[in-house]
């Protein structure tokens, strides 16, 4: 089954006369377990596409099925439900500054509190071990390096066993080597746990981690729409 299936997806910013089309009838599918990179020049609509897939924006036209849920015409509750099954990695780690690393990771599990507190923390610690900073579990983000913070963010995005991981320029705030290391880590964990990963990036140095590279230009997909 495809983790993402998009057809005829069109998106505009603004209304009426001043509406600015950003995505033009996109077709794209991402198979479960695939690691896909999305590249393209600035302003080509990559982030817009990512936020639509993640249920962070309402779909205007076309179809966008994520993890089996159609997002076209979906209400806020449906989009919230989809978000809970997605793991996000942001350009700037976006960790909660007032929580320790393990508490940040546990936040991914608190959203629908099925697990007990002890299990949440145990899972968080295991995830931090998996990203190689188990010793920093009780550190606050302010005391971590950029690479360490992004590792915590990766642990957080994986902790709730999401069906899909969405990342937007996750290496932008990191130096080349750290960026590559963290992306390799993400790819390895995704493969081990059979997670689907969709990464928007400008960074050609991480192309080697992808199963497939999709290229966008001016709101059109020009390469790699289908495996």
């Amino acid at each position: 089954m495809d983790a993402v299936r998009i057809s005829g997806l069109t998106h505009r910013f603004g209304d009426g006369e001043t509406a600015k089309p950003v995505l033009h009838g996109l077709d794209l599918s991402v198979a479960a377990g695939e690691v896909v990179l999305l590249t393209g020049p600035s302003g080509s609509g990559k982030t817009t596409l990512l936020t639509l897939i993640g249920g962070l924006r309402a779909v205007q036209e076309g179809s966008c099925v994520v993890l089996g849920t159609e997002l076209a015409g979906a209400d806020e509750a449906t989009r919230v439900a989809v978000r809970r099954r997605v793991g996000f990695i942001f350009q700037h780690h976006n960790l909660l500054g007032f929580l320790t690393a393990r508490q940040n990771v546990a936040m991914a599990l608190e959203v629908d509190a099925r697990l007990s507190e002890a299990k949440r923390l145990a899972r968080a610690d295991a995830m931090l071990d998996a990203v190689g900073i188990g010793d920093k579990a009780r550190a606050y983000p302010a005391t971590l390096s950029g690479g360490q913070r992004q590792r915590v963010a990766i642990a957080r995005s994986l902790a709730h066993e999401p069906g899909l991981i969405l990342a937007d320029e996750p290496t932008a705030a990191l130096d080349a080597r750290t960026g590559h290391e963290t992306m390799e880590l993400l790819q390895r964990l995704a493969k081990e746990q059979h997670r689907t990963v969709f990464i928007v990036t400008h960074d050609p140095r991480i192309h080697d981690i992808a199963d497939r590279i999709v290229a966008m230009e001016d709101g059109h997909i020009i390469e790699g729409a289908h495996a």
Partner: protein, 396 residues
Amino acid sequence: MALGGVQGRGPRVFLPFRLAWRQLRHEKSRLAAAISGVVFACLLIFMQLGFMTALFESAVQVQKSLHADLFLMHSTTEALWRSTPFPRARLAQALAVPEVERVAPIYVQNVVWRNPKTSLKRTLLLFGVDPTSGVVGFPGLTADGLAAITKPDVILFDARAKPEFGAVSSWLAEGPVVSELGNRRVEVAGLFEIGATFGSEGNALTSEANFWRFVPNHTPAQVNVGAIMLRAGADATAAQAALRHILPDDVMVLTKPELIAFEKTYWANTAPVGFIFGLGVVIGLIVGCVIVYQILFSDISRHIGEYATLKAMGYTNGYLVRVVMGEALILAVLGYVPGWILGLGLYELASARIFIPLTMTVEKSIGVFALIFGMCVVSGLLAIRKLKDANPADMF
């Protein structure tokens, strides 16, 4: 089964509250500032309410220490200190009601007292009663004192009168105090404790015979308050109804709680006391509200990215509302506890230093907590509008 609760409603409230607490405690100095704001509001409200209730209580000190079942006053009387006298015959008529055992008149008049040291003249409220009637139970009265006022030109003095009357109680410890009351030589033979009220700066007590000497234009036939003692086991409301039936309309018949309420109502309506202190309470609430709102609003603004991230992770707006309301309620509790303790301290201080007995009652404690709680809820409700600015799509 406890786990069932945890998995049901529990986490919906507990987890956002815990997040709120973690966010608050992360920045200790901001937390301290927020708490001091609530403490300040708390203290302001406690002091305003304290003084207000103290003044109202002091206004009815005299009424509270009168021992009788029913009271007669002239129907045009508005307050004790300016009571219209009624004919003494009404008391005799009251005796016709079978429940009535005995009656006692109380005479009240403002009289000028001369401070023997400074020669300053000030008006006090003089009470004339039969000392053997047992009607007047002013705090601090002694049997010796009551016996002494049967002698001519002898009074008992209010130890807690304003200091302008003179340090009568300490002079009395050294020897007899002699001065002038109503342009007549007077000797103070003892003390009692009432203190200044709205209507008088000090009080004095004497026998009926002495009262007429000090207030020559007040005839014995004109009574200010009639005290009625009922037979043991008599029904006060029935007796009250019977008295109302047989007595003409120029007097009203009140039970003791009614007498107290009557006087309080007069002061609540006449003096702008209720309004002034009420205003103080409102100002305290507004100040507290603004402080808590500021803290919450700037907290949301500064954490807007974190809130948006939580929304992207699938947290609902309602969850974040609970986080902010959690912060508001935590501030209410954390501010109230030291506010209550400091309030108690200030009450003790006020009672010891300025002789205004401020008392911390359960009702006052609960009432102020409810106000502070409401204040924080309002602040939180105002602040949560800011959460709308947390848009998860902007996080990329």
